[in-house]
């Protein structure tokens, strides 16, 4: 007697519907029958390399057929997947290899040289597999399926501070969250999902797992560079679901002619990674009038926390309700559940909550805390929320982002919303910078719409009209673009402590207009997620 996990989803669908398209990449279509055979071969090949339950398999693969085979094959082998970004550099790969001590390192031929040089520098000796389809041709006994409690993934996340940490997720964690997401998105075998997000990110990995769970078709694209290509794929493959991040939505709504296309098959759009500004929500609904928009919130530590049901888009700044089968609540003063409107850290419980950070009990203890119930730890998200009268959750900011100015609390999000509402503002980020008199001073960074000139004085007056005095930014800097992390989120650390030659040096004029790309590394590290 066993429960079906993500390790068995593929063979389950392949048995019932072997001819159905599982993965499409470029001109290549892989049916469920073929993917099942290749994943089983890959699993046998891993077994020959000595990979078994609990062993980690590190992958450095761009989106494509090889990634689908390697991911599904690793799960079939009952091992743990540790997917890394295809843009990872040698030193960072070496760090992960030393940390996660894998039994195999899988990459594509293009990355073989980099992978081998990282492997040579790392302490553990790891077999490098640079020919996924060759390994998938192995014929041998299929390993037994994993237990629900076996390790399914170690997902590396850089977080906002410090060294990358490996989030440990079991087969139960991932199987549960896959089912929960497929349920609220009402996914079925007729769905065709276009995934331009890297499968190595939690949000991307979910697309593969949910499609295979329900027998849907996953159309893969390696990144999002030329918007015309994406529009073509939406039409050619009659895509029913498009998962995206704010940057992608912002590009799509800026395209000429897209709003006039019917796209009658496009049934749902999802946003995660960062919150979608209210104006973009409205633009997305105008551009895709037939599709339901799901605004979602999650973190690698449990993959997904909440979603806003599309019929609640009247509250577009809300993060919605906990995903099916889970609970999330705001911890107020003293750790008890907060009152309506009271801001506190969001706590999460459910079968999706991670089992800690790989070999890092200290940081695990910061996130997995003894909670309201004696039999389980609670996941502390590090994000500040409040709950409204209608039980909807609202994100306020990171606990680390909270600004204390003149001894009073300032939530950056509140100030950012006021700035966003000013005409011509495309993006705004508010941070606290050390100040001798105030403790922290409120500093706003704003990027205008293309071709618009913004005046810091006007912005400041708008803030003063709508916000209490201590919340009004003492300083406002205008930039062409805000700096971003490798994952496409605004890089607040860079705004607080910019590197040498950065635009926030005090001797520069307050209204200095700065060109995009002037943030060290920002454009280049972004290529994969934004490009």
């Amino acid at each position: 007697m066993s429960v079906r996990t993500i390790a068995e989803d593929l063979s389950f669908t392949a048995t019932r519907d072997p001819g159905r398209a599982a993965v499409i990449f470029g001109d290549r279509v892989l049916s469920y029958g073929e993917l099942d055979r290749l994943a089983a071969g890959f699993a046998s090949g891993l077994r020959e390399l000595g990979v078994g339950r609990g062993d980690r398999v590190v992958t450095v693969l761009p989106n494509g057929i090889e990634a689908a085979i390697a991911f599904q094959g690793t799960l079939r082998a009952g091992a743990a997947l540790s997917p890394l970004s295809p843009t990872i550099k040698r030193d960072r790969l070496r760090y992960v290899l030393d940390d996660v001590d894998p039994a195999a390192l899988v990459c594509d031929p293009e990355r073989a040289e980099m992978a081998e040089s990282a492997e040579a520098l790392a302490a553990p000796s790891v077999p490098v597999v640079a020919a996924v389809e060759e390994l998938a041709a192995v014929v041998g006994p299929t390993p037994p399926p994993p237990l629900e409690t076996d390790l399914a993934a170690v997902m590396y996340t850089s977080g906002s501070t410090g060294e990358p940490k490996g989030v440990m997720l079991t087969y139960r964690n991932l199987s549960f969250v896959t089912g929960s997401i497929a349920e609220y998105l009402e996914m079925g075998p007729a769905d065709r999902v276009l995934c331009v997000l890297q499968l190595s990110f939690g949000y991307g990995l979910c697309q593969l797992l949910t499609c295979v769970r329900v027998g849907a078709t996953l159309v893969l694209e390696d990144g999002f560079a030329f918007p015309g290509r994406i529009v073509q794929l939406l039409e050619d493959h009659r895509i029913t679901g498009l998962p995206a991040v704010p940057t992608i939505f912002q590009v799509l709504v800026a395209l000429r002619g897209l709003g006039n296309r019917e796209l009658p098959d496009l049934r749902f759009l999802t946003n995660a990674g960062a919150s979608l500004p209210e104006a973009t929500v409205a633009a997305v609904r105008r551009t895709f009038p037939c599709a339901q928009l799901y605004l979602m919130y999650g973190l690698t530590e449990c993959i997904r926390v909440s979603y806003l049901p599309p019929d609640r888009l009247d509250a577009p700044t809300s993060s919605g309700i906990p995903i099916p089968g889970t609970d999330a609540w705001v911890a107020g003063a003293g750790g008890h559940e907060a009152e309506v409107g009271e801001v506190g850290e969001l706590m999460v419980r459910g079968p999706h909550v991670m089992h800690g950070y790989w070999r890092d009990p200290e940081r695990t203890a910061e996130r997995l805390r003894p909670g309201r119930w004696p039999w389980e730890p609670t996941l502390a998200t590090g994000d500040l929320f409040f709950r409204d009268e209608e039980e909807l959750l609202h994100w306020v900011g990171r606990t680390d982002d909270l600004i204390k100015c003149r001894g009073e609390k300032v939530y950056p999000r509140e100030v950012e919303e006021v700035l966003h509402a000013v005409e011509g503002v495309r993006e705004a980020a508010v941070v606290g910078v050390p100040d001798r008199l105030l403790g922290q001073a409120v500093h706003a960074h704003v990027a205008p719409e293309h071709g618009i000139e913004l005046d810091p004085g006007t912005l400041r007056r708008e803030c003063a009209e709508r916000l209490e005095a201590h919340k009004v930014p003492g300083r406002i800097s205008i930039h062409d673009d805000l700096p971003r992390t490798a994952r496409g989120k605004v890089d607040r650390r860079m705004l607080i402590a910019p590197g040498e030659g950065s635009p926030v040096e005090p001797q520069r004029p307050r209204s200095a207009r700065l060109k995009s790309g002037s943030w060290p590394n920002s454009r280049r590290t972004l290529r994969r997620i934004r490009a």
């Binding site: 999002f224 560079a225 030329f226 918007p227 015309g228 000429r256 897209l258 790309g517 290529r527």
Partner: protein
Amino acid sequence: MTGANGDIRKDMRAYIQENFLYLEPEVELEDADDFLALGVVDSLGFVELVEEIQSRFGMVVEDVEITEENFGSIDKIAGFVERKRTSR
């Protein structure tokens, strides 16, 4: 039209150099260089580039036209602008 086409290349090279590569003045962009492979322009960048081309050359670019074939390099942009002009 060869002369005009040469101007398109020169204009676009200057525009890209100034707007996307000004932090890397040592990079000499060649007309055949692949924007994406070099990491010169990302998806938001292509939207900016398209806006510039629309206003500079007085033409309308449709969503499906923003592809690698049309915008992947300076050569490709020049070819695209020429084709648009002659098809009008």
